[in-house]
């Protein structure tokens, strides 16, 4: 499964900048899709990432509650249920080849946060 979004993706205004919790995650609902949005300070700069909130191993909507960190050069979230690591950039699972999550495009415009969803 590739982790980029489709061509017909649309930007959705999901929350304000001050809704994000630094070095932690929140979750947005767009249609029926749950999207985990993470804010990290890396080398003094804020970076924002978005991946699917569904934990494909634990089968629950919990990834936004996972701990953030790095494994080697990869920026990851650890599932709060069984601790698999997912890349915030690609959605790849570092421990297992048979599962992955979707990664979404996310941007900041002024003090609003937008996520691109099909």
């Amino acid at each position: 499964m590739t982790a980029t979004t489709q061509l017909a993706a649309q930007w959705h205004d999901v929350c304000g900048l001050d809704d994000l919790v630094n070095n932690s995650g929140v979750c947005a609902l767009i249609g029926e899709q749950q999207i985990a949005i993470f804010s990290l300070t890396i080398k003094g700069e804020q970076q924002i990432y978005a991946i699917s909130n569904w934990d494909p191993v634990g089968k629950a909507n919990v990834l936004y509650r996972g701990l953030l960190g790095s494994i080697g050069d990869e920026i990851v979230v650890a599932s709060p249920l069984y601790k698999e690591h997912y890349s915030l950039v690609t959605g790849r699972c570092l421990e297992r080849d048979d599962v992955s999550v979707l990664a979404y495009k996310v941007k900041r415009d002024g003090d609003r946060i937008f996520v691109a969803v099909e």
Partner: protein, 594 residues
Amino acid sequence: MALGERGGIVIDDSCLTSDPDIYAIGECALWQNRIFGLVAPGYTMARAAVSHLTGGDTRFTGADMSTKLKLMGVEVGSIGDAHERTEGAQSYTYFNQPEGVYKKLVVDAEQKQVLGAVLVGDTSDYDTLLQYALNGIELPEQPESLILPSSDAAPALGADALPDTATICSCHNVAKSDIVTAIDGGCCSLGDVKGATKASTGCGGCTALLKNVVDSELEKRGVEVSKAICEHFNHTRQELFHIVKVNGITSFEQLLEGHGKGLGCEICKPAVGSILASVYNDYILKQEHLPLQDTNDIYLGNMQKDGTYSIVPRVAGGEITPEKLILLGEVAKQYNLYTKITGGQRIDLFGARVEQLPEIWETLVAGGFETGHAYAKALRTVKSCVGSTWCRYGVQDSVKTAIDLENRYKGLRAPHKIKFAVSGCTRECAEAQSKDIGVIATENGWNLYVCGNGGMKPRHGDLFATDLDTETLVRYIDRVLMFYVRTADRLQRTSVWMDNLEGGLAYLQDVVINDSLNLNDELEAQMNSLVANYQCEWKTTIEDEASRKRFRQFVNSKAADANIQFVEERGQVRPATEMEKKLGTNKAIPVDVI
């Protein structure tokens, strides 16, 4: 199909039944009129069956039926020729009637080898004796020392003493030589060896032995066995604790910048969060500490498999008023929570969605409850019996002492969870000897036991001091706990800490009772400051709008997570299975957002 006289499907050496198209393995199979009711023979049978199917010649030739288990609460173990049927066999027995322990060691005529053993009431020698029996290891000069209570060190069987043929993992039939081969083939960690050999991935009973063998083999090859906590810090937890304390470090970023690399991970972040809490007892949810907490600590609840939380209010000493009991019932009814009594004498409420937590706790706090820290590596419970207040046999007020201890140490962050118990007399109804800190009443005061454990690897607590008055008791516990918090490894329970403490019990007694390190004033001062700074994390959280905001499933919607669904079972809710969700079973209980 041919069946045995007393049941069981008759199989031959290839596990083939009387029907040439059907194999039978495991407990249903009868081989030479014997049933093998253990998992390891089941695997061996499977190998024989597969071998026959694929044209190999592996046969089932019986199996070692040595085993240990618990029968009606009594530990029993049996190894090899337990009944001395071998010609010339001789035996040693140890019988301790008061403690209900019986051990028999069967040896050959020359007293060189173990033929079998029987263990009742105490199977702690099982692993060692089994290795002697399976591998024909020569007995020590005084074979009886293997079953006698160890006044000092019983000759333990180190990894190096095991021959290459020694079976380490009997579930997957992995010998020491297989592990050596795996390491020679490039495996350089416990995980690698597990992956390559499958050792320790069955029942898991050999985990500790496997680790010993792997560490010892790696060390032999000059591999430095890394004690680093994770890839971000090249330090142990003790070293990090020391760095934080000595350098007055107050944040993860500060520590990472000076002493680590990368962004951290789910191992080092909570470990540092716990160290900071142990040193300063800052409100655990302060903005800068928040991302360090493990998810259970962040949401102040225990996440269950469906992403909901369980709620465990503190019930100090297990004493609760009818009013509070009713309140718990009312909350459970209002929010449709599943209720269960815990092993620590309190009540667990399951199935609360993350956005319900603050309002549930608002009700609980208003009713006089505090957080129970069931989600934290911290003091959990102080279990107690009713003691001298009600019991005909009680000699001290165990309930009052339990409540006082629980209130003193609640909120204390530690390398792992901590459990206490206080018994009002020597009958020990509170099971204090299986706790990290156990207190048992005597005619003259209290006996203090330390570093006991139940759970996966049970350990009886060591008798630390006798006939203490209450004040001395508390002082000793202060020091023991604070010394543990300072020196233990991440996720190391007190039992394992004690087993690894150089000098063991005598050393700890010397530190705590005789102040051999000249540390006691500092340990006590630190504990006093932690006690003085205690706050109920839930009370602080519900009083702060910004903190409450974090308890949302969605940042842009008040909807509930549609994947959380319950069905009814035995009059309460439980999470729906994947199948039940797919079928959309009509037993699902609709849950309204309140």
